[in-house]
């Protein structure tokens, strides 16, 4: 039992430890608190990350398999305009980074089902901070996965043909795209409410999205009825932009278009996910 003597504090019924009013009366105002609350939430997840290495390992194994399988199994038979390694590896990068956004939905659903979101919503913090912190910390995990995948791709012979600057731009673009998708996933996680459902609902639609695209094969070889979708698929646009940049070709309009898609998705889904959050209660 400590009694911090502070003569200016208001004495009210309290939690019994002592009768000093908590500093919690400091009501957050302004965007600085949004950042602070988001960062506090992000540290919750970042602290836990090294304690769950299996999550990182699983997130890494699939992309490694994809790189190896696609390069060696399909490499000789797929008809694309450039060397298949140089063609498919940027596609696998984009797909993997995008798939990892599903972790956001799973994490949010886990917090919701355990009542953690109930508690967070009862705290005097910015509501959006919970989701901003979650999406940002998931992006950190995504970077780690990407680093491993990049090393494996290098080992099988993939090379950055463009400048460092172009490679950086390509990588930043796919990460921004994935960040936008993690807001879709946050919304899905809040909507379905269970980890299992978030897992399937989060991944399922990303398979057609990423495979009916230019990531693995030339769109011109697809059935004609599928081509319009494959060509206009935002994932095709992203992949084309990144592939060009890694291979030293200017991204052109694809780069801007991919950026616009990502910004649009991020804004729309951040708004609806945060609105959903501010009405979510456990079961």
């Amino acid at each position: 039992m400590t009694t911090t003597s502070d003569p200016t504090a208001t004495s009210v019924g309290t939690a019994g430890v002592d009768v000093k009013r908590g500093a919690a009366d400091e009501i957050p105002t302004g965007p600085i608190w949004l950042l602070k609350d988001s960062w506090t939430e992000a540290t919750r997840h970042l602290r836990a990350m090294p304690r769950n290495p299996e999550l990182l390992i699983f997130a890494t194994i699939q992309p490694i398999m994809f790189v190896v399988l696609f390069v060696y199994v399909f490499g000789a038979s797929v008809d694309v305009p450039i060397d298949y390694k140089q063609y498919v590896v940027p596609g696998i990068f984009c797909q993997t980074v995008l798939f990892n956004s599903a972790f956001t939905g799973v994490g949010v659903a886990d917090d919701l089902s355990k009542g953690i979101i109930d508690r967070l919503r009862s705290l005097p913090m910015y509501q959006g901070g919970v989701l901003v912190g979650r999406t940002l910390s998931d992006a950190v995990r995504n970077v780690l996965t990407f680093a491993v995948m990049f090393a494996v791709a290098y080992a099988v012979g993939f090379r950055v043909e463009g400048t460092i600057w172009q490679a950086f731009l390509a990588t930043a673009l796919m990460f921004f795209f994935s960040y936008a998708f993690s807001w879709i996933q946050a919304w899905i996680g809040l909507s379905v409410g269970s980890v299992e459902a978030a897992n399937s609902a989060g991944f399922l639609w990303m398979f057609p999205l990423t495979f009916v695209s230019s990531a693995f094969v030339d769109v011109n070889n697809m059935p004609s009825w599928l081509q319009p979708f494959a060509r206009n698929n935002p994932f095709t646009i992203l992949t084309n932009a990144c592939r060009n940049l890694y291979n030293g070709v200017p991204a052109g309009s694809d780069g801007w278009l991919a950026l616009a898609w990502a910004a649009g998705i991020a804004i729309v889904f951040a708004v609806i996910a945060i609105r959903k959050f501010s009405r979510s209660t456990s079961a």
Binding site: A15, G16, V19, G22, R51, D118, T281
Partner: protein, 344 residues
């Protein structure tokens, strides 16, 4: 000085005409109650009565359709941030992050109440000490037992020294020993002056912890008062007849129904959850009732093990108010009230 003064002289918690509907289901139907400072009020009712909804209105999780909710005179839905700074919530689930240690969980919540890192840590240590978790402070919470999680959960809701603590079914799902531990903890907090709104479906819990009980059923307040006052409301005296082996309740009811002034019911199950061997007979006047009952049973040839006068319990109160027994069967984990967001 308190930069955002509320009305610290009025009641700590005030509910005025709260109404909340979920589709056809009215979870709160014009609910009023007051929690005075440094008191414990127990919202008592069966699953689905609306207790959790009431707590969620006060903790800003659910917006009421009408009515107002005040914490320290602050309208919760007018100034949610100010109200939230003054409350602590322990919900139905132990809302702890399993991937963090207990000390980290406490610090984290403290930081979200905008305590400084040093203050959050210091208070976290105090609470761990006080809640007998110091030895496990640096263990990951996923290794904790259910009782330890619940203790940590309550500690987390106290980190900012809230003016009002909300405890939503704090012992649901706990084994009897952990339940006892949580009760002792709450009694200690109450003795220290923590204003508490507690929800429970257990009569013994309400009787033990609450200064005042508000009985809720189908979203309506059907009675309120201290447990003694509630028992007086029911009135009358009772005989408790313990059945002999081989005697059934029907024989006893048949023999004693002429002298009963109300329905004859089976006593509540015992602590181990075995079906009761006792029968409760309400009588107008306890004087002479025992000899009369013995004569009646003898005349009918019904054997019994024991017969004794018995004062009213909250069970009787609940039965008298709702026409059905309260849920007292062994404190099993029954999250029926928590099924489906749509139902609340």
């Amino acid at each position: 000085m308190d930069p955002h003064p509320g009305n610290d002289s009025g009641p700590a918690v005030l509910a005025q005409g709260l109404v909340k509907r979920f589709g056809d289901n009215t979870a709160l139907d014009d609910v009023d109650f007051v929690v005075e400072r440094a008191k414990v009020v127990g919202l008592l009712g069966p699953n689905g009565a609306g207790k959790t909804t009431a707590v969620r209105v006060f903790t800003t999780l659910i917006r009421p359709d009408s009515g107002r909710a005040f914490i320290d005179g602050i309208d919760v839905w007018q100034e949610p941030m100010r109200a939230k700074a003054r409350i602590g919530l322990t919900g139905q689930y132990a809302a702890v992050d399993e991937k963090l240690t207990a000390a980290e969980n406490l610090e984290h919540i403290g930081r979200l109440y905008h305590l400084s890192k040093a203050t959050a840590r210091e208070r976290g240590r105090e609470l761990l000490d006080r809640f007998d978790l110091s030895d496990a402070a640096d263990r990951l919470v996923k290794e904790y037992s259910g009782g330890m999680r619940r203790r940590l959960d309550i500690a987390m809701s106290l980190i900012a020294r809230p003016s009002v603590l909300f405890l939503d079914e704090p012992t649901t799902g706990l084994d009897p020993r952990s339940r006892q531990g949580v009760w002792e903890l709450i009694e200690e907090l109450v003795a220290g002056g923590t204003t508490t709104l507690l929800t429970t479906q257990y009569l013994d819990e309400a009787e033990r912890l609450a200064d005042e009980i508000v009985v809720i059923d189908h979203g309506r307040v059907i009675a309120r008062g201290t447990s003694e006052e509630l028992k007086q409301q029911v009135g009358g005296d009772r005989l408790e007849v313990t059945l002999a082996d081989g005697t059934d309740i029907g024989q006893v009811s048949g023999a004693l129904s002429p002298m009963a002034c109300g329905p004859i019911v089976r006593g509540g199950s015992d602590d181990d959850g075995h079906a009761s061997r006792t029968v409760i007979v309400p009588v107008l006047d306890i004087d002479g009732a025992i000899p009369a009952a013995v004569r009646q049973l003898d005349a009918a040839g019904v054997t019994f093990a024991d017969i004794a006068p018995r004062s009213s319990t909250l069970d009787d109160v609940f039965f008298a108010l709702t026409g059905r027994p309260a849920d007292t069967d062994g404190h099993v984990d029954e999250p029926a009230e928590t099924q489906g967001a749509a139902s609340r």
